[in-house]
Structures are given as structure tokens and as C-alpha cells.
Amino acid sequence: MTDTKKLIQLLYSISDTIVENAQFLTDLDAAIGDSDHGINLARGFKKVETELPALEDKTIDAVLKKTGMVLVSTVGGASGPLYGTAFMKAGAVVKGKSEIDINDFLAIMDAAIGGVQLRGKAVEGEKTMLDAMIPANNAMKKAFDDGKDVHSVLQAGVEAADKGVEYTKSIIATKGRASYLGERSIGHQDPGATSFTILLKTIANAY
């Protein structure tokens, strides 16, 4: 499914999409946070881009780890350690591999979610990126178990993530900065859930 070359291409695409959506994500964060989510991620992925050329000969896990480290050291805020750890943990489960398949990708998703939960100590339903990540992961696993092809598996994930984002509108935030707003956070979609969905869409579009 994916070798290092393809992964690097994917990361360029992800960076482009995040940069394109930076204002949108920041505006979402303005409503229930502090107007920086898109700015933060764009800063991080732009820096990731500059590191990619040097990674062409590396294994998948090295690229993922490096991406995670760059995100941790450039994004800041809550999403920096969260996305950064997610990528680093993702790397750890595909150690030494120079090509991965859809099975590996599902392991990567598990590890990434584990990383986010390790750092952020949140569960589903708290209006965070997890509300897109967990349902997406579940839907992809189900589609895979149902014998769907890579394209369909990823599409199932995107659909579930989109629903997850919709769902975040209906709930009160109890983790992160939006939690300070209490009831006032209702009606707004979570920026982190949105950025994850954008990221997953970019991946899905490539298969």
C-alpha cells in the first residue's frame, strides 16, 4: 500500500491541506478556543516539509517519528504534544518497515489514539479530536473485517470522522480550552476533530 516515497508525498499533501485550511481551523478555534489551532498546525507541518527531503532513504517509522518530533517542537499548545505523540507512537508500531499495508495502518491508528489519550487523558464524548479519531478507527476496522478494499476502508473512516465532527457540535467540551465555556461550547464543532478529519481525507484521497 505505502512505501516511504508515498508516505513522504502524503505528508506534503497533508501539509498543503492544513495550510490551506489554516484560517478555517483558526476561525473554529476562535469560537471556542483561542484562535490558533490552524496557525499552530500550519507552522508545524510547514516545518515538517523542510525535513522531508532528508528522509527519502529512511524507513516508515523513522519518517513518522521525525514528523512527530517536529510537530512536538514547533506546534505548541495542546495540539502539538497530542499530534506529535500520535505520530511518534504511530512510528513505534511499524518499526523497521519500509512498506506498510492497510493492516499496519489500522495498527497505526490504534497507536496514535493511544498516544493522544496518554497525553491528554480524554475519552470519547469530551469534544476533542478523539471524537473524530475513535469512530473513524472503529469504522475502518469494521470495513476491513467486512473485507472491503483499501479505498473503501479509508472512505468509511472519513465518513465516520465527519459524523464525529458533527457530533462534537452537540456536546459540551469537558477537556481542553473549550471546556471553560461550559454550555456555550455547544453548537460549535471541535477544531481538533476537524483537523484530524481533514488529515484523514487527504490520506483517503490518495488511495
Partner: protein
């Protein structure tokens, strides 16, 4: 967005440079980082490190110097600094006696500082931390992420800083920091929002007759909007919340009337006039007052009130000499 800046992506860097060029006798910029450390590293004492997003000037770099912080780590505007930056700060000022991190309670700040502390501990540096959550506007119950750290944090810097300067151990410095945290409460409001330079639009909007109550320090909306009232009524509302949260009756308190960045001192003094009257009436004795800009949100117009209930130790430490760019006690 109307600001006196150059390129938006140069805001943080040029601000750090401008500060270091203004106050070389107090701070230097740690090579290749955004960290501002005390000009003359002081050995033989616990080092205090604090930080958070930029946009809170004079916090945190303005408090680096004798009797307060040893290093400040500014992140991007309203974005907590990354672990590697915090780690750089710890490394720059760490002593045998150890390092205390003063963290404001935000998910991002806590995660980034804790990751840095882990890195430092791996290198054999003694690191401990306190987390400040003084904002009574938000629910501090078990089911939330806890209260935010706002202007009351400056009292932690001052008092723990004085304790460290006096040569106390890491445990003692941490203990007095925890005591300040346990005894300080704050609450804020705004009449005009601020704009993160890179975002370009304000974090919330207010009509000409509206105010935002219970705001944080990151330009984010507060707990609710209301019709703008007279200064005395606003003070009553904020003080009610603060006094309901902690019993200050009969105690000596330190008062901080903190401007959010765009508020004229004129208004802060008018606020203090009523704060002082209400406290007197409630048999709370004002020991010392600080009126000014201590923990800002760029150009936001608004203010916070912080009340710190003092004991003799805290009084002595509050009165101890401090010499930093933005906080001086003679």
C-alpha cells in the same frame, strides 16, 4: 487588524529581541532559542522557570531577575511553548538545588512543560512543578480540567521567587508556591477583544453596550456576555464570585488590579477605588495593592481582580526586594 508590527511571522521574535535590547542588564536570549534567562546565572539557589504563550507581556520575560524568575519561555502568541524550548530554559538555569516550573493550568501548557520536565529529569536535573489555577470564573470541580491560571500567577512568581532567592530548598520553594496557589483567586472581564496577529480577527465580538464576563487571558470568549455596567457594578460582580470562593474575612490581602493590555490606568484606578471600599466594608484588610499591567492579552480592554490571602511568611516574601524589568520592590 490595526497593529504597530512588521511581518506577522516576526512578531514573537522581534518582541524577544526588543526586550533583550531594552534590558540587557536583566535578561539574555539563550542562543538559538526563544528562552529569556537571567543575565547573570545565579548558583546556589533553586531556579524558577515559567512561561506560556506570548501576548501576556510583561509576563513572563518581564519578571526575570532578582527575586522572581530565572528564565521565561514564551511560545507563539497564546500558544504554550514546545517542550524543547522549556527544556532549553531548564538547562540554562538549572542549579544543584533544582528547578521549579510554574505552570498555568492549560492543557497545552501542562503537557508541554511536563514533557520538558521528563527530558530534564532524564539528564539528571532535579525538576518539580506547580500548576496555578486561580480563575474563579470557571468551575474547578473534579469533572473539569480545573481552573485556569491567570494574573494570580504573578503572585506565585513573586513569592516563590523571593523564597528561592533567599536560598530555600526546592521543597520549601514549592511549598510556598502551593500556599500562594491555595490562597489566590482571580476573575476577569473585557469590554474589547484582542486580535492574535497571525489570526487577523478578534477572538470574540462585542456590541457597543456589551461586555464579556469571565474571560481568560488568551483572547477567548468568557463565560457570558452582559450589558455593559458601571465600573462599581462590574467590580461587585467579580468580587462576589471571588469572595464566595474563599473566606477572606478578617485577613490581610494583597490586591492586584490587572489591566488586559489596552485598558487605561485611569480605569484601573477607578476600579481599585471601589475594590478597596468593598474590601474595607467586608472587614478585609488591604496589605498591599498592585495596579497595572501584569498579565495581559495583547491589546484587550478589560481587567482582572486578584486577591491573595496573606500570612506572615507570604507578607515578608511579597515585601522582599525584587528587581526585574516589570516588577520591582525596593
Amino acid at each position: 487588524m490595526k497593529k504597530i508590527i512588521n511581518a506577522v511571522d516576526q512578531v514573537e521574535n522581534q518582541m524577544i529581541e526588543g526586550l533583550v535590547k531594552a534590558y540587557p542588564e536583566y535578561v539574555y536570549r539563550v542562543e538559538g532559542s526563544d528562552v529569556l534567562a537571567r543575565a547573570h546565572k545565579k548558583e546556589g539557589k533553586v531556579a524558577l522557570v515559567s512561561g506560556g504563550g506570548s501576548g501576556h507581556e510583561p509576563a513572563h520575560a518581564g519578571y526575570v531577575g532578582t527575586g522572581m524568575l530565572d528564565a521565561a519561555v514564551p511560545g507563539a502568541v497564546f500558544t504554550s511553548p514546545t517542550p524543547d524550548q522549556v527544556y532549553e530554559a531548564i538547562q540554562a538555569v538549572a542549579t544543584e538545588e533544582g528547578v521549579l516550573l510554574v505552570i498555568k493550568n492549560y492543557t497545552g501548557d501542562v503537557m508541554n512543560f511536563e514533557m520538558a520536565a521528563d527530558m530534564a529529569r532524564d539528564e539528571g536535573i532535579k525538576v518539580d512543578q506547580v500548576i496555578v489555577g486561580d480563575d474563579v470564573a470557571v468551575d474547578g470541580s473534579l469533572y473539569t480540567v480545573g481552573r485556569r491560571g491567570i494574573a494570580g500567577t504573578v503572585f506565585v512568581h513573586k513569592i516563590a521567587g523571593a523564597k528561592a532567592e533567599a536560598g530555600a530548598s526546592l521543597e520549601e520553594v514549592k511549598a510556598v508556591a502551593e500556599k500562594v496557589i491555595a490562597n489566590v483567586r482571580s476573575m476577569s472581564m473585557a469590554i474589547k477583544p484582542c486580535t492574535v496577529p497571525a489570526a487577523g480577527t478578534p477572538g470574540f465580538e462585542l456590541a457597543d453596550d456589551e461586555m464579556e464576563i469571565g474571560i481568560g487571558i488568551h483572547g477567548e470568549p468568557g463565560t457570558h456576555k452582559e450589558k455593559l455596567q458601571e465600573a462599581d457594578q462590574i467590580v461587585d460582580q467579580l468580587l462576589d464570585k471571588i469572595l464566595a470562593d474563599l473566606d477572606y474575612t478578617g485577613s490581610d490581602v494583597a490586591v492586584m488590579i490587572n489591566g488586559c493590555g489596552g485598558t487605561p490606568l485611569m480605569e484601573l484606578f477607578i476600579v481599585n477605588n471601589h475594590v478597596s471600599d468593598v474590601l474595607k466594608e467586608k472587614n478585609i484588610n488591604v496589605y498591599r495593592t498592585f495596579v497595572g499591567e501584569y498579565m495581559t492579552s495583547i491589546e484587550m480592554e478589560g481587567f482582572s481582580i486578584s486577591l491573595l490571602k496573606l500570612d506572615d511568611e507570604m507578607k515578608a516574601l511579597l515585601d522582599a526586594t525584587a528587581d526585574t524589568p516589570a516588577f520591582k520592590v525596593l
